[in-house]
Protein backbone atom coordinates (compact mmCIF):
# COMPACT_ATOMS: atom_id res chain seq x y z
CA UNK A 1 0.00 0.00 0.00
CA UNK A 2 1.15 3.48 -0.75
CA UNK A 3 0.01 7.09 -1.00
CA UNK A 4 -2.30 8.14 -3.81
CA UNK A 5 -5.05 6.17 -5.49
CA UNK A 6 -4.40 2.47 -5.72
CA UNK A 7 -6.62 -0.09 -7.33
CA UNK A 8 -6.08 -3.80 -7.20
CA UNK A 9 -8.08 -6.62 -8.76
CA UNK A 10 -11.00 -4.33 -9.48
CA UNK A 11 -13.86 -6.19 -11.19
CA UNK A 12 -17.19 -4.73 -12.28
CA UNK A 13 -19.79 -6.32 -14.56
CA UNK A 14 -17.51 -8.50 -16.73
CA UNK A 15 -14.52 -6.16 -16.70
CA UNK A 16 -11.34 -6.89 -14.83
CA UNK A 17 -9.49 -7.79 -12.79
CA UNK A 18 -7.82 -4.38 -13.24
CA UNK A 19 -4.93 -3.09 -11.15
CA UNK A 20 -3.11 0.22 -11.33
CA UNK A 21 -2.24 3.20 -9.20
CA UNK A 22 -2.00 6.95 -9.54
CA UNK A 23 0.51 8.80 -7.38
CA UNK A 24 -0.22 12.05 -5.55
CA UNK A 25 -0.03 15.01 -7.95
CA UNK A 26 0.22 12.64 -10.91
CA UNK A 27 -2.14 12.85 -13.88
CA UNK A 28 -2.76 9.57 -15.69
CA UNK A 29 -4.59 9.50 -18.99
CA UNK A 30 -7.16 6.86 -19.82
CA UNK A 31 -7.93 6.09 -23.44
CA UNK A 32 -10.01 3.49 -25.21
CA UNK A 33 -12.60 3.17 -27.93
CA UNK A 34 -16.18 4.29 -27.30
CA UNK A 35 -17.93 1.59 -25.33
CA UNK A 36 -14.69 0.18 -23.97
CA UNK A 37 -15.85 0.92 -20.43
CA UNK A 38 -13.88 4.03 -19.49
CA UNK A 39 -16.88 5.67 -17.89
CA UNK A 40 -17.81 2.43 -16.14
CA UNK A 41 -14.30 2.26 -14.71
CA UNK A 42 -14.58 5.80 -13.32
CA UNK A 43 -18.04 4.98 -11.91
CA UNK A 44 -16.68 1.90 -10.17
CA UNK A 45 -13.82 3.90 -8.64
CA UNK A 46 -16.33 6.51 -7.43
CA UNK A 47 -18.28 3.58 -5.94
CA UNK A 48 -21.39 4.31 -7.98
CA UNK A 49 -21.58 0.76 -9.29
CA UNK A 50 -21.11 -2.55 -7.57
CA UNK A 51 -17.58 -3.89 -7.81
CA UNK A 52 -15.14 -6.26 -6.16
CA UNK A 53 -11.46 -5.85 -5.43
CA UNK A 54 -9.80 -3.07 -3.47
CA UNK A 55 -9.79 0.64 -4.15
CA UNK A 56 -7.95 2.79 -1.67
CA UNK A 57 -6.90 6.37 -1.27
CA UNK A 58 -3.83 7.17 0.85
CA UNK A 59 -4.12 3.68 2.36
CA UNK A 60 -7.78 4.18 3.30
CA UNK A 61 -9.90 1.52 1.60
CA UNK A 62 -13.17 2.56 -0.02
CA UNK A 63 -15.24 0.31 2.22
CA UNK A 64 -14.00 1.90 5.42
CA UNK A 65 -15.83 5.12 4.53
CA UNK A 66 -19.53 5.60 3.77
CA UNK A 67 -20.44 5.96 0.07
CA UNK A 68 -21.04 9.75 0.28
CA UNK A 69 -17.82 10.31 2.29
CA UNK A 70 -15.83 8.35 -0.29
CA UNK A 71 -17.37 10.29 -3.18
CA UNK A 72 -16.60 13.63 -1.55
CA UNK A 73 -12.94 12.58 -1.55
CA UNK A 74 -12.91 10.69 -4.84
CA UNK A 75 -14.79 13.09 -7.08
CA UNK A 76 -16.03 12.17 -10.53
CA UNK A 77 -16.83 14.80 -13.17
CA UNK A 78 -19.34 13.19 -15.57
CA UNK A 79 -19.16 13.87 -19.29
CA UNK A 80 -22.52 15.61 -19.22
CA UNK A 81 -23.18 17.89 -16.29
CA UNK A 82 -26.57 17.89 -14.56
CA UNK A 83 -28.19 20.84 -12.80
CA UNK A 84 -31.32 20.70 -10.69
CA UNK A 85 -32.03 24.23 -9.48
CA UNK A 86 -32.90 27.30 -11.53
CA UNK A 87 -29.77 29.38 -11.12
CA UNK A 88 -26.06 28.61 -10.97
CA UNK A 89 -25.65 30.03 -7.45
CA UNK A 90 -28.21 27.65 -5.93
CA UNK A 91 -25.87 24.76 -6.69
CA UNK A 92 -23.18 26.25 -4.51
CA UNK A 93 -24.08 25.83 -0.84
CA UNK A 94 -21.89 28.78 0.08
CA UNK A 95 -20.16 31.26 -2.13
CA UNK A 96 -16.57 30.63 -1.23
CA UNK A 97 -13.82 32.98 -2.21
CA UNK A 98 -12.11 30.03 -3.91
CA UNK A 99 -15.14 29.33 -6.12
CA UNK A 100 -15.15 33.00 -7.18
CA UNK A 101 -11.48 32.74 -8.07
CA UNK A 102 -12.07 29.54 -10.02
CA UNK A 103 -14.91 30.93 -12.10
CA UNK A 104 -12.73 33.93 -12.93
CA UNK A 105 -9.92 31.63 -13.98
CA UNK A 106 -12.37 29.75 -16.23
CA UNK A 107 -13.34 32.97 -17.99
CA UNK A 108 -16.56 33.97 -16.21
CA UNK A 109 -17.48 37.19 -14.47
CA UNK A 110 -17.73 36.15 -10.82
CA UNK A 111 -20.04 39.07 -10.05
CA UNK A 112 -22.74 37.81 -12.41
CA UNK A 113 -22.29 34.12 -13.07
CA UNK A 114 -23.95 32.91 -9.85
CA UNK A 115 -27.21 34.66 -10.80
CA UNK A 116 -27.38 33.11 -14.25
CA UNK A 117 -30.21 30.79 -15.15
CA UNK A 118 -29.10 27.26 -15.94
CA UNK A 119 -31.45 26.93 -18.89
CA UNK A 120 -29.69 29.79 -20.70
CA UNK A 121 -26.18 28.34 -20.42
CA UNK A 122 -24.46 26.51 -23.24
CA UNK A 123 -23.28 22.92 -22.76
CA UNK A 124 -19.70 24.15 -22.56
CA UNK A 125 -20.51 26.76 -19.92
CA UNK A 126 -22.28 24.17 -17.83
CA UNK A 127 -19.32 21.85 -18.19
CA UNK A 128 -16.87 24.47 -16.92
CA UNK A 129 -19.13 25.46 -14.02
CA UNK A 130 -19.57 21.79 -13.10
CA UNK A 131 -15.82 21.64 -12.58
CA UNK A 132 -15.99 24.55 -10.13
CA UNK A 133 -18.90 22.89 -8.34
CA UNK A 134 -16.85 19.72 -7.98
CA UNK A 135 -13.71 21.49 -6.74
CA UNK A 136 -15.52 23.47 -4.03
CA UNK A 137 -15.68 20.28 -1.94
CA UNK A 138 -11.88 20.00 -2.03
CA UNK A 139 -11.77 16.43 -3.39
CA UNK A 140 -8.63 14.34 -2.86
CA UNK A 141 -8.85 12.53 -6.24
CA UNK A 142 -10.22 13.73 -9.57
CA UNK A 143 -11.86 11.33 -12.02
CA UNK A 144 -12.49 13.36 -15.16
CA UNK A 145 -14.71 11.97 -17.92
CA UNK A 146 -13.89 13.96 -21.07
CA UNK A 147 -13.86 17.28 -19.21
CA UNK A 148 -13.24 19.34 -22.35
CA UNK A 149 -15.37 17.43 -24.86
CA UNK A 150 -17.72 20.35 -25.54
CA UNK A 151 -15.24 23.20 -25.23
CA UNK A 152 -13.48 25.44 -27.73
CA UNK A 153 -9.69 25.72 -27.75
CA UNK A 154 -9.55 28.71 -25.44
CA UNK A 155 -11.82 27.19 -22.80
CA UNK A 156 -10.03 23.85 -23.08
CA UNK A 157 -6.80 25.58 -22.23
CA UNK A 158 -8.37 27.34 -19.23
CA UNK A 159 -9.80 24.06 -17.93
CA UNK A 160 -6.46 22.30 -18.35
CA UNK A 161 -4.74 25.08 -16.41
CA UNK A 162 -7.23 25.03 -13.55
CA UNK A 163 -7.00 21.26 -13.19
CA UNK A 164 -3.25 21.21 -13.38
CA UNK A 165 -2.98 23.93 -10.75
CA UNK A 166 -5.37 22.11 -8.41
CA UNK A 167 -3.47 18.86 -8.94
CA UNK A 168 -0.10 20.28 -8.01
CA UNK A 169 -1.29 22.64 -5.23
CA UNK A 170 -3.37 20.02 -3.47
CA UNK A 171 -1.20 17.12 -4.56
CA UNK A 172 -4.13 15.03 -5.77
CA UNK A 173 -4.04 12.07 -8.19
CA UNK A 174 -5.98 12.70 -11.43
CA UNK A 175 -7.40 10.14 -13.85
CA UNK A 176 -8.25 11.85 -17.13
CA UNK A 177 -10.43 10.21 -19.81
CA UNK A 178 -10.17 11.68 -23.30
CA UNK A 179 -10.06 10.68 -26.95
CA UNK A 180 -7.43 13.25 -27.77
CA UNK A 181 -3.82 12.06 -27.79
CA UNK A 182 -2.56 15.64 -28.04
CA UNK A 183 -4.39 16.56 -24.87
CA UNK A 184 -2.96 13.60 -22.99
CA UNK A 185 0.54 14.57 -24.09
CA UNK A 186 -0.07 18.02 -22.62
CA UNK A 187 -1.72 17.06 -19.34
CA UNK A 188 -0.61 13.59 -18.33
CA UNK A 189 2.65 11.91 -17.55
CA UNK A 190 1.56 8.48 -18.78
CA UNK A 191 -1.51 6.80 -20.25
CA UNK A 192 -3.50 3.65 -19.74
CA UNK A 193 -5.48 2.01 -22.50
CA UNK A 194 -8.70 0.12 -21.81
CA UNK A 195 -9.18 -2.51 -24.46
CA UNK A 196 -11.05 -5.81 -24.48
CA UNK A 197 -11.91 -5.22 -20.83
CA UNK A 198 -8.21 -5.17 -19.87
CA UNK A 199 -5.91 -2.29 -19.02
CA UNK A 200 -2.48 -1.82 -20.50
CA UNK A 201 0.15 0.86 -20.12
CA UNK A 202 0.76 2.87 -23.25
CA UNK A 203 4.36 2.55 -24.35
CA UNK A 204 5.96 5.92 -24.97
CA UNK A 205 6.84 6.79 -28.53
Amino acid sequence: MKKGLSISDLCFLDWGPLSFSVNPAECVGLRGASGSGKTLLLRAIADLDEHSGTISLDETPCNSLSGPDWRRRVAMLPAESSWWRDTVGEHFPEELEESRLLVEQLGFDSGKVFDWEISRLSVGERQRLALVRLLQHKPRVLLLDEPTANLDEKSTELVEQVISKYRSNESVPVLWVTHSREQLERVSSRSLILENKKLSEEVAG
Binding site: L48, P68, R71, M76, S81, S82
Partner: protein, 268 residues
Amino acid sequence: MSIIEITYRELLLTGTLVIALAVCTVISKLGVARPLLIAALRMAIQLTLVGMILNFIFTKSGILWVAGISLVMLAVAGREVAVRSKRPLAGWWGYAVGTGSMFVSSFAVAIFALAGMIRADPWYEPQYAIPILGMLLGNTMNGIALSMDRLTDAAWRNRDEIEARLMLGEQGKTAIGDFAKDAVRSGLIPVINAMAVAGIVSLPGMMTGQILAGNDPSIAVKYQILIWLLIAAGCGFGMLLAIRLTVHLLFDERHRLRLDRLKKPDRS
Protein backbone atom coordinates in the same frame (compact mmCIF):
# COMPACT_ATOMS: atom_id res chain seq x y z
CA MET B 1 -88.75 5.39 6.41
CA SER B 2 -87.43 2.47 4.39
CA ILE B 3 -85.80 2.19 1.01
CA ILE B 4 -87.74 1.23 -2.10
CA GLU B 5 -86.51 -2.15 -3.29
CA ILE B 6 -85.06 -2.43 -6.80
CA THR B 7 -85.48 -5.78 -8.61
CA TYR B 8 -83.25 -7.43 -11.23
CA ARG B 9 -85.83 -6.46 -13.85
CA GLU B 10 -85.07 -2.76 -13.27
CA LEU B 11 -81.36 -3.45 -13.36
CA LEU B 12 -81.66 -5.26 -16.70
CA LEU B 13 -83.69 -2.40 -18.12
CA THR B 14 -81.05 0.11 -16.98
CA GLY B 15 -78.46 -2.14 -18.54
CA THR B 16 -80.05 -1.50 -21.92
CA LEU B 17 -78.81 2.12 -21.60
CA VAL B 18 -75.23 0.85 -21.58
CA ILE B 19 -75.96 -1.56 -24.41
CA ALA B 20 -77.37 1.34 -26.42
CA LEU B 21 -74.20 3.28 -25.69
CA ALA B 22 -72.12 0.32 -26.86
CA VAL B 23 -74.07 0.16 -30.12
CA CYS B 24 -73.40 3.87 -30.68
CA THR B 25 -69.66 3.41 -30.07
CA VAL B 26 -69.61 0.55 -32.59
CA ILE B 27 -71.25 2.79 -35.17
CA SER B 28 -68.71 5.56 -34.55
CA LYS B 29 -65.86 2.98 -34.56
CA LEU B 30 -64.50 4.05 -31.18
CA GLY B 31 -63.33 0.54 -30.38
CA VAL B 32 -64.45 0.67 -26.77
CA ALA B 33 -67.64 -1.36 -27.01
CA ARG B 34 -66.06 -4.61 -25.87
CA PRO B 35 -64.20 -3.25 -22.83
CA LEU B 36 -67.27 -1.19 -21.91
CA LEU B 37 -69.60 -4.19 -21.91
CA ILE B 38 -67.09 -6.43 -20.18
CA ALA B 39 -66.49 -3.84 -17.47
CA ALA B 40 -70.22 -3.35 -16.89
CA LEU B 41 -70.71 -7.10 -16.67
CA ARG B 42 -67.73 -7.50 -14.33
CA MET B 43 -69.01 -4.72 -12.11
CA ALA B 44 -72.43 -6.35 -11.86
CA ILE B 45 -71.04 -9.80 -11.11
CA GLN B 46 -68.43 -8.59 -8.62
CA LEU B 47 -70.93 -6.48 -6.70
CA THR B 48 -73.50 -9.29 -6.63
CA LEU B 49 -70.89 -11.64 -5.21
CA VAL B 50 -69.77 -9.04 -2.67
CA GLY B 51 -73.40 -8.57 -1.63
CA MET B 52 -73.69 -12.29 -1.04
CA ILE B 53 -70.44 -12.39 0.91
CA LEU B 54 -71.43 -9.40 3.02
CA ASN B 55 -74.83 -10.94 3.78
CA PHE B 56 -73.01 -14.04 4.92
CA ILE B 57 -70.42 -12.17 7.00
CA PHE B 58 -73.07 -10.05 8.71
CA THR B 59 -74.62 -13.20 10.11
CA LYS B 60 -71.26 -14.25 11.62
CA SER B 61 -69.99 -11.61 13.94
CA GLY B 62 -66.72 -13.38 14.85
CA ILE B 63 -63.58 -11.26 14.64
CA LEU B 64 -61.85 -13.95 12.56
CA TRP B 65 -64.35 -13.54 9.74
CA VAL B 66 -63.86 -9.80 9.69
CA ALA B 67 -60.08 -10.17 9.85
CA GLY B 68 -60.16 -12.78 7.07
CA ILE B 69 -62.11 -10.67 4.61
CA SER B 70 -60.03 -7.59 5.52
CA LEU B 71 -56.86 -9.44 4.60
CA VAL B 72 -58.35 -10.55 1.27
CA MET B 73 -59.25 -6.91 0.53
CA LEU B 74 -55.72 -5.83 1.49
CA ALA B 75 -54.11 -8.48 -0.71
CA VAL B 76 -56.15 -7.42 -3.75
CA ALA B 77 -55.39 -3.73 -3.12
CA GLY B 78 -51.68 -4.54 -2.76
CA ARG B 79 -51.66 -6.32 -6.09
CA GLU B 80 -53.37 -3.33 -7.72
CA VAL B 81 -50.63 -0.99 -6.44
CA ALA B 82 -47.95 -3.26 -7.87
CA VAL B 83 -49.51 -3.71 -11.31
CA ARG B 84 -50.49 -0.08 -11.81
CA SER B 85 -46.90 1.14 -11.64
CA LYS B 86 -45.04 1.57 -14.89
CA ARG B 87 -41.73 0.60 -13.31
CA PRO B 88 -42.51 -1.03 -9.96
CA LEU B 89 -39.86 -2.35 -7.61
CA ALA B 90 -39.04 -5.84 -8.82
CA GLY B 91 -39.81 -9.05 -7.00
CA TRP B 92 -41.60 -9.27 -3.69
CA TRP B 93 -40.40 -5.85 -2.60
CA GLY B 94 -42.77 -3.86 -4.81
CA TYR B 95 -45.69 -5.83 -3.49
CA ALA B 96 -44.51 -5.67 0.11
CA VAL B 97 -43.91 -1.89 0.19
CA GLY B 98 -47.37 -1.01 -1.13
CA THR B 99 -49.22 -3.63 0.85
CA GLY B 100 -47.26 -2.97 4.04
CA SER B 101 -47.87 0.77 3.88
CA MET B 102 -51.58 0.26 3.25
CA PHE B 103 -51.78 -2.25 6.07
CA VAL B 104 -50.15 0.06 8.58
CA SER B 105 -52.06 3.19 7.63
CA SER B 106 -55.51 1.86 6.67
CA PHE B 107 -55.78 -0.67 9.46
CA ALA B 108 -54.49 1.69 12.12
CA VAL B 109 -56.84 4.45 11.03
CA ALA B 110 -59.79 2.04 10.69
CA ILE B 111 -59.23 0.61 14.16
CA PHE B 112 -58.93 4.13 15.56
CA ALA B 113 -62.30 5.03 14.02
CA LEU B 114 -64.10 1.81 14.92
CA ALA B 115 -62.87 1.33 18.44
CA GLY B 116 -62.37 4.97 19.39
CA MET B 117 -64.93 7.04 17.49
CA ILE B 118 -67.87 4.89 16.37
CA ARG B 119 -67.64 2.47 19.31
CA ALA B 120 -69.96 -0.20 17.92
CA ASP B 121 -70.45 -3.27 20.09
CA PRO B 122 -68.30 -5.24 19.42
CA TRP B 123 -65.96 -2.70 17.81
CA TYR B 124 -65.32 -4.97 14.82
CA GLU B 125 -69.06 -5.22 14.02
CA PRO B 126 -68.89 -6.07 10.28
CA GLN B 127 -71.66 -3.63 9.33
CA TYR B 128 -69.28 -0.78 10.28
CA ALA B 129 -65.87 -2.37 9.96
CA ILE B 130 -66.04 -3.61 6.39
CA PRO B 131 -67.42 -0.51 4.62
CA ILE B 132 -65.05 1.79 6.50
CA LEU B 133 -62.01 -0.35 5.83
CA GLY B 134 -63.11 -0.71 2.21
CA MET B 135 -63.32 3.03 1.70
CA LEU B 136 -59.98 3.57 3.38
CA LEU B 137 -58.25 0.86 1.37
CA GLY B 138 -59.73 2.10 -1.90
CA ASN B 139 -58.45 5.62 -1.34
CA THR B 140 -55.05 4.78 0.14
CA MET B 141 -54.58 2.33 -2.72
CA ASN B 142 -55.02 5.13 -5.27
CA GLY B 143 -52.75 7.50 -3.38
CA ILE B 144 -49.98 5.02 -2.76
CA ALA B 145 -50.08 3.64 -6.30
CA LEU B 146 -49.91 7.16 -7.74
CA SER B 147 -47.05 8.34 -5.54
CA MET B 148 -44.94 5.18 -5.89
CA ASP B 149 -45.40 5.25 -9.64
CA ARG B 150 -44.35 8.90 -9.74
CA LEU B 151 -41.23 8.22 -7.70
CA THR B 152 -39.95 5.13 -9.51
CA ASP B 153 -40.62 6.73 -12.88
CA ALA B 154 -38.86 9.96 -11.82
CA ALA B 155 -35.86 7.97 -10.56
CA TRP B 156 -35.64 6.22 -13.92
CA ARG B 157 -35.96 9.38 -16.00
CA ASN B 158 -33.69 11.54 -13.89
CA ARG B 159 -30.94 9.06 -13.28
CA ASP B 160 -28.21 11.45 -14.49
CA GLU B 161 -29.29 14.20 -12.15
CA ILE B 162 -29.60 11.93 -9.11
CA GLU B 163 -26.23 10.35 -9.77
CA ALA B 164 -24.62 13.74 -10.37
CA ARG B 165 -25.73 14.66 -6.86
CA LEU B 166 -24.36 11.40 -5.50
CA MET B 167 -21.04 12.19 -7.19
CA LEU B 168 -20.93 15.41 -5.19
CA GLY B 169 -21.17 13.35 -2.01
CA GLU B 170 -24.87 13.70 -1.25
CA GLN B 171 -26.78 10.99 0.61
CA GLY B 172 -29.23 8.92 -1.45
CA LYS B 173 -32.28 10.42 0.21
CA THR B 174 -31.03 13.98 -0.36
CA ALA B 175 -30.18 13.27 -4.00
CA ILE B 176 -33.70 11.99 -4.71
CA GLY B 177 -35.37 14.33 -2.18
CA ASP B 178 -37.06 16.67 -4.64
CA PHE B 179 -38.62 13.76 -6.49
CA ALA B 180 -39.80 12.12 -3.27
CA LYS B 181 -41.52 15.36 -2.22
CA ASP B 182 -43.18 15.63 -5.64
CA ALA B 183 -44.39 12.06 -5.36
CA VAL B 184 -46.08 12.60 -1.99
CA ARG B 185 -47.56 15.88 -3.16
CA SER B 186 -49.00 14.39 -6.33
CA GLY B 187 -50.53 11.54 -4.33
CA LEU B 188 -52.16 13.88 -1.82
CA ILE B 189 -53.51 16.43 -4.27
CA PRO B 190 -56.54 14.35 -5.37
CA VAL B 191 -57.55 13.93 -1.72
CA ILE B 192 -57.13 17.65 -1.03
CA ASN B 193 -59.11 18.56 -4.14
CA ALA B 194 -61.89 16.13 -3.33
CA MET B 195 -62.22 17.46 0.22
CA ALA B 196 -62.20 21.04 -1.01
CA VAL B 197 -65.25 20.51 -3.25
CA ALA B 198 -67.01 17.86 -1.13
CA GLY B 199 -70.73 18.52 -1.01
CA ILE B 200 -70.59 21.43 -3.47
CA VAL B 201 -69.55 19.87 -6.73
CA SER B 202 -69.95 16.24 -5.80
CA LEU B 203 -72.11 14.51 -3.23
CA PRO B 204 -69.91 11.83 -1.75
CA GLY B 205 -71.08 8.30 -2.51
CA MET B 206 -71.43 7.12 1.04
CA MET B 207 -73.52 10.08 2.08
CA THR B 208 -75.73 9.69 -0.97
CA GLY B 209 -76.18 6.04 -0.10
CA GLN B 210 -77.19 6.76 3.47
CA ILE B 211 -79.64 9.43 2.40
CA LEU B 212 -81.14 7.09 -0.22
CA ALA B 213 -81.44 4.45 2.49
CA GLY B 214 -83.62 6.86 4.43
CA ASN B 215 -81.19 8.11 7.04
CA ASP B 216 -81.28 11.58 8.51
CA PRO B 217 -78.99 13.70 6.28
CA SER B 218 -77.32 15.27 9.32
CA ILE B 219 -76.16 11.83 10.51
CA ALA B 220 -75.05 10.98 6.98
CA VAL B 221 -73.04 14.20 6.86
CA LYS B 222 -71.27 13.45 10.15
CA TYR B 223 -70.29 10.02 8.88
CA GLN B 224 -69.04 11.52 5.65
CA ILE B 225 -66.90 14.07 7.50
CA LEU B 226 -65.48 11.29 9.65
CA ILE B 227 -64.69 9.23 6.55
CA TRP B 228 -62.98 12.09 4.75
CA LEU B 229 -60.79 12.86 7.73
CA LEU B 230 -59.89 9.19 8.01
CA ILE B 231 -59.14 8.98 4.28
CA ALA B 232 -56.90 12.06 4.39
CA ALA B 233 -54.96 10.72 7.36
CA GLY B 234 -54.75 7.16 6.03
CA CYS B 235 -53.67 8.29 2.56
CA GLY B 236 -51.12 10.77 3.85
CA PHE B 237 -49.45 8.51 6.40
CA GLY B 238 -49.58 5.56 4.01
CA MET B 239 -47.88 7.56 1.28
CA LEU B 240 -45.21 8.98 3.58
CA LEU B 241 -44.37 5.45 4.64
CA ALA B 242 -44.49 3.99 1.11
CA ILE B 243 -42.25 6.74 -0.30
CA ARG B 244 -39.80 6.41 2.56
CA LEU B 245 -39.55 2.66 1.98
CA THR B 246 -39.26 3.09 -1.79
CA VAL B 247 -36.43 5.62 -1.39
CA HIS B 248 -34.73 3.20 0.98
CA LEU B 249 -34.93 0.41 -1.61
CA LEU B 250 -33.79 2.58 -4.51
CA PHE B 251 -30.38 2.99 -2.86
CA ASP B 252 -28.10 0.40 -1.34
CA GLU B 253 -25.98 0.70 1.79
CA ARG B 254 -23.23 2.46 -0.22
CA HIS B 255 -25.81 5.06 -1.40
CA ARG B 256 -25.67 3.84 -4.98
CA LEU B 257 -28.78 4.39 -7.12
CA ARG B 258 -30.06 0.87 -7.81
CA LEU B 259 -32.31 1.12 -10.85
CA ASP B 260 -31.71 -2.59 -11.42
CA ARG B 261 -34.22 -3.09 -8.60
CA LEU B 262 -37.00 -1.74 -10.84
CA LYS B 263 -38.93 -3.96 -13.19
CA LYS B 264 -38.76 -3.14 -16.89
CA PRO B 265 -42.10 -1.97 -18.25
CA ASP B 266 -44.05 -4.46 -20.36
CA ARG B 267 -43.90 -3.73 -24.04
CA SER B 268 -47.58 -3.69 -24.75
